[in-house]
């Protein structure tokens, strides 16, 4: 301390060095810890300090004593230090700092602790460059309908709500080129979307061409903003909702349900077809099986009968007359055994023979009252039903 004080030249730098001295002076009592009197500091210090206070006293018209002068000096020095320190600022990681020197762009600062010359010489404007900004058009806003309903290329009206995601690509341009850049983005977004929608048909926008519309609107926005040199980069245009306006929604929904209806009609028909066709196939198989069964049966039966005939024939050839007679009689026996019989001698009958109707009634119905013996009846049969031909 001492050598510094010794060397101190209060000449032209009197005031500032005096300020420093004074600070030292106030610190010293505490630092020494001696508890000695304040006034008698060091013998080497006093002359300098006295000279300073004298000067200060001169400056302020000699008012106040030494303590006042020192107080003023402290205040001034502190103010200067504070002023100088006000130049420190922090640029957040998402930001860029744009430093203006007397209003003129001077430099861009990256994130971190930075310093600019204190106001009013320099000042900083921080711009969120990496942050994505979002502008919504249409939707829940008060001006919703007017903002979101637009005309399509085929003369229909569509309701579109969309968002634009953008970011500041050039902080300086963003600050200096455009007034109200955020509003500009909203206006250009609406204009671009309307232009794109105006040359696209309604149906594709709702269904397939949505991505295409988004891309075209984005490109158009970007072109316009670039042309203005706005320093804004449009990241994405996202259609949140695109559909017919509420006035016609019912009709559009009906188209949906109509296609559902059509589909279910077709399904019904298919169900019917599957059932009926399969049933028919089953029936066809049955018919064929049945006829095959018939064929087999017919052939086998025939073969069986033929075999039987052949056997009998072989025996018949040995004794034709006897066999013939026997066959006839046996057959007649079997036939007549189970039948009801009326034997009528028609010879010499002049009037028709009337048979009682009971005779012709089937056995099952006339259980008792038709005994099997009404052989001879009154009258004569017109013609006997005989099987004599076969016996020939």
């Amino acid at each position: 301390m001492a050598p510094w004080n010794d060397n101190a030249n209060p000449g032209p730098w009197g005031a500032p060095s005096g300020g420093d001295d004074k600070r030292d002076g106030t610190k010293r009592p505490g630092g020494n810890g001696g508890g000695g009197p304040r006034r008698p500091g060091g013998p080497d210090f006093n002359p300098d300090f006295n000279r300073l206070t004298e000067r200060l006293r001169d400056m302020f018209g000699g008012a106040g004593g030494q303590p006042t002068g020192r107080l003023i000096a402290v205040l001034v020095g502190g103010a200067v230090a504070l002023w100088a320190a006000s130049g420190f600022y922090v640029v957040q990681p998402s930001e860029q700092g744009i430093v203006l020197t007397f209003g003129a762009y001077s430099r861009s600062e990256e994130p971190g602790l930075r310093y600019h010359l204190p106001s009013p010489i320099e000042r900083v404007e921080k711009v969120p460059v990496t942050e994505l900004q979002k502008t919504d058009v249409g939707g829940e806003g008060a001006a919703g309908a007017a903002e979101s309903q637009m005309l399509t290329g085929d003369g229909q009206i569509i309701d579109i709500d969309f968002s634009v995601t953008w970011r500041i690509s050039d902080a300086a341009r963003y600050l200096f080129a455009t007034r109200n850049p955020d509003q500009a983005v909203a206006a250009i977004a609406e204009s671009a979307m309307r232009e794109v929608v105006g040359r696209t048909q309604l149906q594709p926008i709702i269904s397939t061409a949505r991505g295409q519309v988004q891309q075209q609107a984005r490109d158009l926005m970007q072109r316009t903003l670039d042309q203005w040199g706005a320093g804004i980069s449009v990241v994405e245009v996202q259609i949140r909702e695109a559909g017919p306006p509420p006035e016609v929604v019912a009709a559009f929904r009906d188209v949906q349900s109509a296609s559902q209806d059509a589909e279910s009609s077709v399904n019904e028909a298919n169900t019917f077809r599957n059932r009926v066709v399969n049933e028919a196939k089953g029936d066809a198989a049955r018919i064929i099986q049945e006829s095959q069964a018939y064929r087999e049966q017919a052939v086998r039966d025939a073969m069986g009968e033929a075999a039987r005939f052949n056997q009998i024939y072989a025996e018949y050839r040995r004794a034709p007359g006897v066999t013939r007679e026997r066959l006839y009689i046996e057959s007649m026996e079997r036939v007549l055994r189970s039948s009801k019989k009326v034997v009528v001698d028609g010879k010499g009958a002049s009037a028709p023979i009337i048979l009682p109707p009971d005779v012709f009634r089937p056995k099952s119905q006339t259980v008792a009252p038709a005994p099997a013996a009404p052989a001879a009846q009154s009258g004569a049969a017109q013609q006997g039903q005989t099987q004599s031909r076969a016996a020939q």
Binding site: G61, L151, G153, A177, V276, A284, R295, A302, T386
Partner: protein, 296 residues
Amino acid sequence: MNPRLVALGVAAVALLALVMQTLYVVDQRQQVIVVAFGDPVRVVNPPGRNEAGLHMKIPFVEQIIRLDRRNIAIESAEEEIITAGQERLMVNAFVRYRISDPLQFYRTLRNETTAADRIGRLLNSSLRQVLGSATDNDIISGRRGELMQQAKADMIRRAQSSKLGIQVIDVRIKRADLPNANREFVFRRMSTARQQEAAQLRAQGEQRKREIIAEANREVAVTLATAREQSGQIIGEGDAQRTRIFANSFGRDPSFAAFYRSMQAYESSFADGETTMVLSPDSAFFKYFERGPSAR
């Protein structure tokens, strides 16, 4: 001591005032017209010159007027425009301009409020002229970009001839919509078109349904008929074989075969016992029955 302090104070204030009257800051976003007794003397930091920063002027004599140097928007109110095809459209557009010649701007328009008014009217008449000669179809879809370029060119021309001192950067149609009355028509048209589509879809579904059913019915009929055809074939085969077998067998003695077969037929025909036979005692069967054991 007091007078000295006062004097010092006065001097400081005077100095400060002098400094403030002399020095002025021009922001990057501004341009400044220096005016001496109401007369523009010079321009600082107009577009094209980079002069933002600290500047000096003659104190008390020169005054400064600050103008914006950036790109400024003016949006027109929504206006009804009648197109070439006599259709009405509600059009809303905006223009972006920049004060390119501050002196001219100052002389003609004085400040931004009047400028907004004047440029707004200019925008309106340009739109009317350009859009009035186009059809609504052109405006909405076909030639929107082109028409905006025309409106811009028209505005540039008018701004120049009126010496407004502005540069028109862009003219864009924001909205071009139908008036409310016409919107109702559009909605009705859209609805009927959808109804038509729905009816068509349903009818197509019905058509398809009937086609499928008819096809199914045909398939059923064909399947069954084919089966019957095959069946006939098979049955015929069976009958043919049967006939051949009998022919082969019975052909050896047709007379006996006929007798033998008749016997079988009689037996099976009358086997049910439901038959009442009225017989003549003359028949061969009753030969012995009538004539006794000597019958021959």
